[in-house]
Amino acid sequence: MADRRNLWLWLALGLVSAGFLAWQLRAPQDVILVLRGQKLLALICVGAATGAATVLFQTIAMNRLLTPGIVGFDALFVLMQTLLVAALGGVGLAQIPGTIRFGLEAAVLVGAASALFGILLRRDAGDITRMILTGVILGVLLRGLASMVQRLLDPSEFAVVQQAMFASFGRVPADQLTAAILCLGGALFVALRMAPALDVAGLGRGAARGLGLDHDRLVRVTLMLIAVLVAVSTALVGPISFLGLLAASLARQITDTHRHAVLIPAAALIGALILVAGQFIFERLLGQQSALAVVVEFLGGLLFLALVLRKVRA
């Protein structure tokens, strides 16, 4: 049953991707195909990583309203990027090969994120609204710190950070894309293998421990996975806070299940589908390059408000 639903998502993604590649394909076909292919892969990577990360995050936070973006995960990433440039210098950072840099950034982020959000989840887990608000304000704080450090940099190094922060789908370096796909594939694989344990964790800490699950360890590992997934997507395109919420909510609606073996792939597919279809519509049909992130932000925000108000009524 559930597998067939995901099959439809696979089909849809395949169709949209084919359309994305083949629409108005002109003269130097192989060159354009390679460029479009890279862009397509980047979009799928980011969408899938964001969708999967959000489902994982919602499960360990026991709350359907959360996304890593809302509670400042990506702000943390931007701050780490900035600090790395500040510590190593723009030139120093440029000398590190892309793959190693990617790994370095991911490692630093995973450590910091696990510590910070681990504390946040443990201390405030009982009071969800306070946790969200703390996370949001923490995000503002981290963003402020990041821009403060950026101002302290030399103008040339500031430019390096800015380039890293506003990377668009247009120019994703091939080696970074390869590293991203490897990381994403690995993280998704681990997440799927953990799916049964995550199902149990969704029952709550007490019940999960009663059933023999090492809940604290699971939360730690899941936070690391989320950190890797968010790092992948933010490194490729920059922060999009509400995409994950859209993907995870739609996945829960469509699959109508709590089983993570179905939910995680569905959310990943939907995230990728939103980005690829959105980019196709806005860039190819409407001729507007950057409107996609804004529209996703707008719709995601509306959905979030609707969810908050509905949950409060119920």
Binding site: L141, E297, F298
Partner: protein
């Protein structure tokens, strides 16, 4: 009175602000002070006072201490109005643009109030979240407008409040803040009653709707004034009223001057810090304030949770 010790600190900050800058004061000191330093210092003081007062009124109107103008979508709505008027009538005088900005700020705040009435009051943390997301939605629309009209840089200038561009002739509108502050002082008792909620305020003989509307017009005007002249400053309206209320209780008529004073000091202080950290380069005051203000907000959250019966 204990509040008198604020005045020497303020005087010290003003002196530092006047003495500080990339240009040396040894030549043409009078001219430099007149054209640049004094306007800059005054602009910071007035903007801080105005935002802090706007914060008080919003908090009373929605009965929630964790809310402030920048968490109600008001700056974003204001920005949207400014963008639209810039697109339709680029040559309009500043006064006209200011009016449009204030009107759209008012509409934005009206939308927030409609949302706020649907959010239950048991959980004080819920309203700021709703406000943040509401502001995010309006901000997304503003960004889209700015993007399609190629006005992103224009938008960026307003998104980040700072004073480095303030010179003589560019801040005088902020004097209306003083005027509005006087008006608020006259209304202080009625706005205090607003904080009791609709039923009790009515029972005490207050025209609730009218007072709330008047208070919000003042907030919209203050927000628009500051935004158009120097840019957006998050958290000022949150931090100043909360600190004063923790320190001195809730007598609004007695507190309003202190709140205004504290707001002015905080913004000027942030500006001074921003100028010192990487002299002679500058960090925008709003950036400094975002870090400090977010810290204070997190502290307030802990305190609010300790006081609340649940959680």
């Amino acid at each position: 009175m204990s509040r008198l010790w604020l005045i020497p600190i303020l005087a010290g900050l003003i002196l530092i602000s006047l003495a500080l800058g990339a240009a040396s004061l040894s030549q043409d000191a009078g001219w430099l002070l007149m054209v640049s330093r004094i306007p800059r210092t005054l602009a910071a003081l007035l903007a801080g006072a105005g935002l802090a007062l706007a914060g008080v009124v919003v908090q009373q109107a929605v009965q929630n201490r964790l809310v402030e103008p920048s968490l109600t979508g008001t700056p974003e709505a204001c920005m949207l109005g400014l963008l639209v008027v810039t697109l339709i009538a680029p040559g309009m005088a500043v006064a006209g643009k200011m009016l449009v900005a204030a009107a759209s700020a008012l509409v934005g705040m009206g939308g927030f109030l409609m949302l706020a009435d649907r959010v239950p009051r048991q959980d004080p943390m819920l309203l700021p979240i709703v406000g943040l997301v509401y502001g995010g939605i309006l901000g997304a629309v503003a960004t889209w407008f700015a993007w399609s009209a190629d006005l992103m840089q224009y938008l960026g200038i307003w998104m980040l409040g700072e004073f480095s561009g303030v010179m003589i002739g560019r801040y005088e509108w902020l004097w209306s803040v003083a005027l509005l502050a006087g008006l608020l002082y006259v209304l202080a008792d009625r706005i205090t009653l607003l904080g009791l909620g609709q039923t009790q305020a009515r029972a005490l003989g207050l025209d609730y709707g009218q007072t709330r509307a008047l208070g919000l017009v003042i907030v919209a005007a203050l927000t628009a004034l500051v935004l158009v002249t120097v840019g957006a400053f998050p958290f000022v309206g949150l931090v100043a009223p909360n600190l004063v209320s923790r320190w001195r209780g809730d007598n609004l008529r007695a507190n309003l001057p202190v709140v205004a004073l504290l707001g002015a000091m905080l913004v000027l202080g942030a500006d001074v810090i921003g100028r010192v950290i990487r002299y002679p380069f500058e960090i925008p005051a709003a950036t400094v304030f975002a870090v400090l203000g977010a810290g204070v907000f997190l502290w307030l959250l802990r305190k609010a949770a300790e006081r609340a019966p649940h959680g």
